[in-house]
């Protein structure tokens, strides 16, 4: 499972953990998250995330 980091604020989306409070189940891959999803910390668009090296 991969981790994705918001390039603006550093928020990390961990595929293994998901975001249950937002209805994104643990194990949800980055690709499966809708395109209109935004960073929960800063509001930046999904397209502006970067894959973080593990």
């Amino acid at each position: 499972m991969k981790k994705w980091q918001c390039v603006v604020c550093g928020f990390i989306y961990d595929e293994a953990l998901g975001l249950p409070e937002e209805g994104i189940a643990a194990g949800t891959t980055w690709d499966s998250i809708p395109d209109d999803w935004e960073c929960p910390d800063c509001g930046v668009a999904k397209a502006d995330f970067e894959m973080m090296e593990l």
Partner: protein, 380 residues
């Protein structure tokens, strides 16, 4: 004379985010961004965790101006100093060219506040509010062992935390009783102080720097309480003031910031303000989340769909990795009190109004994992 549909002054997060949001809706209107610097795009929040991330000023830069021009399909004029804005003729005079606009967006950010300090070392005090400043800071840091930071606020504490990752000795100085005193209840502020002290940070609170003298080796700081400190680098992080110079000269209504309504429009029709320079319906919120909300709303407004900015609860994340914080400060006019639930791993602090409703919060350490839950509680 260059004619544009939209002129944006500033290529920080606000200017570039607005251009990006605009282009999602409109790929053809002519846009130019004017910037006094080199136009490199970067994230300001990342400056204060760069050492931990192993980044340099150059690797913090995400794209240069040329790449941004291509990506955004806009013109970008770098090293451009705006001299005057004529809101009647809708013209902008600069050291490069004169630009004609249909709509103008001021995204000029804020300037670091510089305290009046005596001594020949005072002029060497650094402040970091952009990538260029950061490059200078890192150059001085490479040979430094001890850094003195003026200002135990959000930026000061993030930098203190980050310097620990580079094994620097850190001293933080300021008049506050405890760190982040304007945002945090005392329980959380003192817990942050203790956590950073445990990692080696020295604090001189309840005092200010009176003078900074220069020696052949380093700097000598004399504090009002009589304490003398030696440091290799002195970093000032005492606060920001919105940059209202161009707005004032153009006779726009200003207060602390450039005043706008909920559509981000200033007192001049067709002139808008966004980001750290803006005071939207009386609120100046120098953080990323309000900026992003503003950029999205303004892009719609500029493309014909007038949209008021919407500010949902937007917690501030403080990247003090050794003791992280998530803060949703209560609105200034709200009457209430802080109620803290402290554990060794972290604190849950609620700001409750007279009816006992949650109108603000501060979470620290392990408690920050519950931030979404608290945001939801605020929205209910």
């Amino acid at each position: 004379m260059c004619d544009y549909d939209v002129v944006i002054i500033g290529t920080g997060l606000a200017g570039y985010s607005l251009a990006r949001e605009f282009r999602r809706l409109d790929k053809h209107s002519r846009i130019v961004l004017l910037t006094a610097d080199d136009g490199r795009s970067y994230s300001k929040p990342m400056l204060s965790s760069a050492l931990k991330q192993g980044k340099t000023a150059d690797t913090l830069a995400m794209a240069n101006a040329e790449k941004m021009q291509e990506t955004l399909s806009t013109s970008i004029i770098t090293n451009c100093t705006v001299e005057k804005i004529d809101t009647e003729a809708k013209q902008i005079f600069t050291n490069k060219d004169t630009y004609q606009y249909k709509n103008l967006v001021l995204a000029v950010g804020a300037q670091p506040i510089r305290l009046p300090i005596q001594g020949e070392g005072a002029k060497d005090i650094l402040s970091v509010n952009n990538l260029t400043d950061y490059a200078v800071f890192r150059r001085h840091l490479s040979s430094a062992k001890h850094v003195a930071i003026l200002g135990p606020g959000l930026i000061g504490c993030e930098f203190a935390n980050d310097l620990l990752h580079a094994d620097k000795q850190v001293t933080v100085i300021g008049p506050d009783h405890y760190p982040l005193s304007t945002l945090l209840p005392e329980t959380v502020g003192t817990a942050l102080q203790a956590a950073l002290t445990a990692k080696g940070v020295t604090w001189h609170l309840n005092t200010v720097v009176e003078s900074v003298d220069k020696t052949p080796k380093n700097y000598k700081l004399v504090l009002k309480n009589g304490v003398c400190i030696e440091a290799d680098v002195v970093l000032s992080a005492v606060g920001l003031r919105p940059d209202i110079r161009l707005a004032e000269a153009a006779n726009l209504t200003t207060n602390r910031g450039i005043m706008t309504d909920k559509f981000l429009q200033t007192s001049a029709k067709s002139v808008y303000a966004l980001g750290d320079c803006a005071e939207v319906e009386g609120k100046n919120l120098p953080f990323v989340a309000p900026l992003m909300q503003g950029a999205k709303a303004l892009a719609k407004t500029l493309t014909g769909d007038a949209t008021a900015v919407d500010y949902p609860p937007m917690p501030v994340v403080v990247k003090t990795s050794f003791y992280p914080l998530v803060i949703l400060p209560p609105a200034p006019f709200l009457v209430g009190q802080w109620v803290s639930d402290s554990h060794a791993e972290g604190i849950y602090a609620r700001y409750e109004n007279e009816e006992g409703q949650l109108v603000g919060f501060a979470l620290s350490g392990a408690a920050t994992a519950d931030k979404q839950k608290y945001v939801k509680l605020m929205s209910d």
